[in-house]
């Protein structure tokens, strides 16, 4: 039951996006997300749509995988759209009972919906095409200037990648403890919220104890294999920029320029 949860939902296939350097993808995602908040008219959205659709096609990940991420936020999406629809003042179009739908309301609701959907699909393209390990490597490398001001960048990246690799192990363990407790009459499914939370205690205590024991063992194993922090460490797969990464940066710069300039040209204002 617990195994159904997927985190860092990597979709293994071979595409240009998969082969891109994680640093490019990280920056690309940030630029894309920022761009969504930069523009206020349809021209911007057309550019963003063209960009997003071409990325989806390039990634060769089935579209259904990307939509899957949307399911989790359907309610949030609905609330946002409704609030925008009814609460925006402006020229009234339709009016019934206490609600009024304005022209501006429709416009901002549509914008908000698109913005949220693009936000989620845009960031899931990154996680779908990058392995968790690659992602943390990319973060480590792009944040490495921060280590000059004593930010433990390597340690943070190492912690993240270890945490990611221990998620399935701990989930399995939770499942095991749960079954063991259920076999002895524990009830995790009935009762109100408070009762259920209280019933989780016999699950959490052994889980925490075992997590600490595992952490201790792992630290010992890492030390035995000469781990001594990021200094003097080499990499089996060092991140190296290829020609395609430079090309990607160029496309990214063009996209950013387009989203800033084009919607401001009066003839293109929609």
């Amino acid at each position: 039951m617990l195994r159904d949860i997927t985190l860092g939902q990597y979709y293994p296939t071979d595409s240009v996006l998969h082969r891109l350097d994680p640093r490019v993808k990280l920056l690309g995602t940030i630029v894309f997300l920022l761009s969504l908040f930069l523009f206020q008219n349809f021209t911007g959205y057309i550019i963003a749509t063209v960009f997003l659709v071409s990325m989806i096609l390039l990634s060769r990940v089935p579209f259904s995988f990307m939509v899957r991420g949307l399911k989790a936020v359907v309610i949030l999406l609905a609330i946002t759209v409704l609030i925008n629809l009814f609460a925006t003042p402006g020229i009234p179009l339709v009016s019934f009972w206490k609600f009024t739908i304005t022209k501006e309301g429709i416009r901002s609701a549509a914008f908000m919906m698109l913005r949220l959907i693009y936000l989620i699909i845009g960031s899931s393209i990154m996680t779908l095409t990058t392995t968790p390990k690659n992602l943390t490597d990319g973060m480590e490398k792009s944040l490495s200037p921060l280590s000059k001001i004593k930010v433990p960048v390597h340690e943070i990246a190492m912690m993240m990648s270890i945490a990611l690799s221990f998620i399935p192990i701990l989930l399995e363990e939770t499942d095991k403890i749960m079954k063991a407790q259920m076999a002895r009459g524990a009830d995790f499914e009935s009762g109100n919220l408070f009762k259920r939370i209280k019933n989780m205690v016999p699950l959490l205590v052994p889980l925490f104890i075992s997590a600490f024991r595992r952490a201790n063992d792992l630290a010992l194993a890492m030390e035995a294999r000469c781990y001594q922090g990021g200094n003097g460490r080499t990499k089996m797969k060092p991140l190296k920029y290829h020609l395609r990464d430079l090309a990607a940066y160029l496309i990214l710069a063009l996209y950013l320029a387009a989203t800033i300039v084009l919607p401001r040209i009066p003839a293109l204002k929609l």
Binding site: S161, A224, C226, Y227, K235
Partner: protein, 286 residues
């Protein structure tokens, strides 16, 4: 040349009660003398709490002696500057395969050790390939460790140590959490390391069947080495072993019982094949 030697090695830890006051001092290791030669296959036998894991941790500078000295490749572990050299010389494989895998892909996990000691990328690739081939896991190099069986995970852990090119590998009950098939796989890999790569192997275990491949056995009880010798010598002392809650391999036990019943079986039989041979010899003389 001896790779690991210990003289009068002792290790104490202080047990405290819940207020932090000293409750008692436990002498986990007591007056241990060891001498392990380069290329040996040494087994350390002992019941739970006999101090065998504590001894193993001294060989990798994870624990330091309270009294006495241990030298690894001629380096005294008490001198702090020797710590990393010692850890490079002796690799260590632990009991629980899940708790020693760091990478999210098999080959990345094997690369962890070499990365730590600053090996250039190109050489890491060569080492990873070579060590995965030694343990027979090369076909799984791009798999996720979580999806492997216990025996396979443990072989990956061994490959991770081999990739650091140690002179000596200490395996602390590597098969305790595995099923019989996994146990066989791991022991086969360990023997290949010793035979083919000439790496000194120190196998800590309480499975008697794994001990018969060793060329020297130390038996530990209550922090002391109580017996040492070849497996044949050690297993000919069935009664002493049983008095410290260790059992001998089943064939040895059977031969022993036969001898007690009056059948003149020779002492120290280790494998079923030897047993059959001895029995045949007996029947031809009768």
């Amino acid at each position: 040349m001896s790779i690991i030697s210990a003289k009068k090695l002792a290790y104490e830890y202080i047990r405290r009660d819940k207020d932090g006051a000293v409750d008692g001092i436990v002498r986990a290791l007591d007056d241990i003398d060891l001498d392990i030669k380069q290329g040996d296959f040494v087994a350390i036998l002992g019941h739970n709490g006999s101090g065998k894991s504590t001894l193993a941790k001294h060989m990798n500078a994870i624990l330091y002696p309270s009294e006495g000295t241990i030298w690894v490749d001629g380096k005294n572990s008490l001198e702090p500057e020797n710590m990393w050299d010692i850890r490079k010389t002796t690799g260590m494989v632990f009991q629980n395969p899940d708790n020693q895998i760091i990478g999210t892909v098999v080959e990345e996990d094997v690369a962890f050790g070499p990365e730590n000691i600053g090996i250039p990328s190109k050489e890491i690739w060569e080492r990873v390939e070579e060590s995965l081939k030694i343990v027979g896991m090369y076909a799984y190099r791009t798999h996720a460790p979580g999806k492997l069986s216990g025996g396979q995970k443990q072989r990956v852990a061994i490959a991770g140590v081999v990739a650091m090119h140690p002179k000596c590998i200490v395996l602390d009950e590597p098969t305790a959490m595995l099923d019989p098939i996994g146990r066989k796989e791991v022991i086969r890999a360990v023997r290949a390391l010793n035979d083919v790569e000439n790496i000194t192997v120190i196998l800590i275990t309480h499975y008697m069947e794994e001990v018969i491949y060793a060329n020297k056995v130390y038996v530990m009880d209550a922090g002391k080495v109580v017996m040492e010798g070849t497996p044949r010598e050690v297993f000919s002392h069935t009664d002493e072993l049983e008095s410290i809650r260790l059992s001998v391999p089943q064939t040895t036990k059977l031969a022993d019982e036969l001898r007690k019943a009056g059948v003149p079986m020779p002492k120290g039989i280790l494998s079923p094949e030897e047993f059959a041979e001895a029995l045949c010899r007996l029947s031809s003389t009768m």
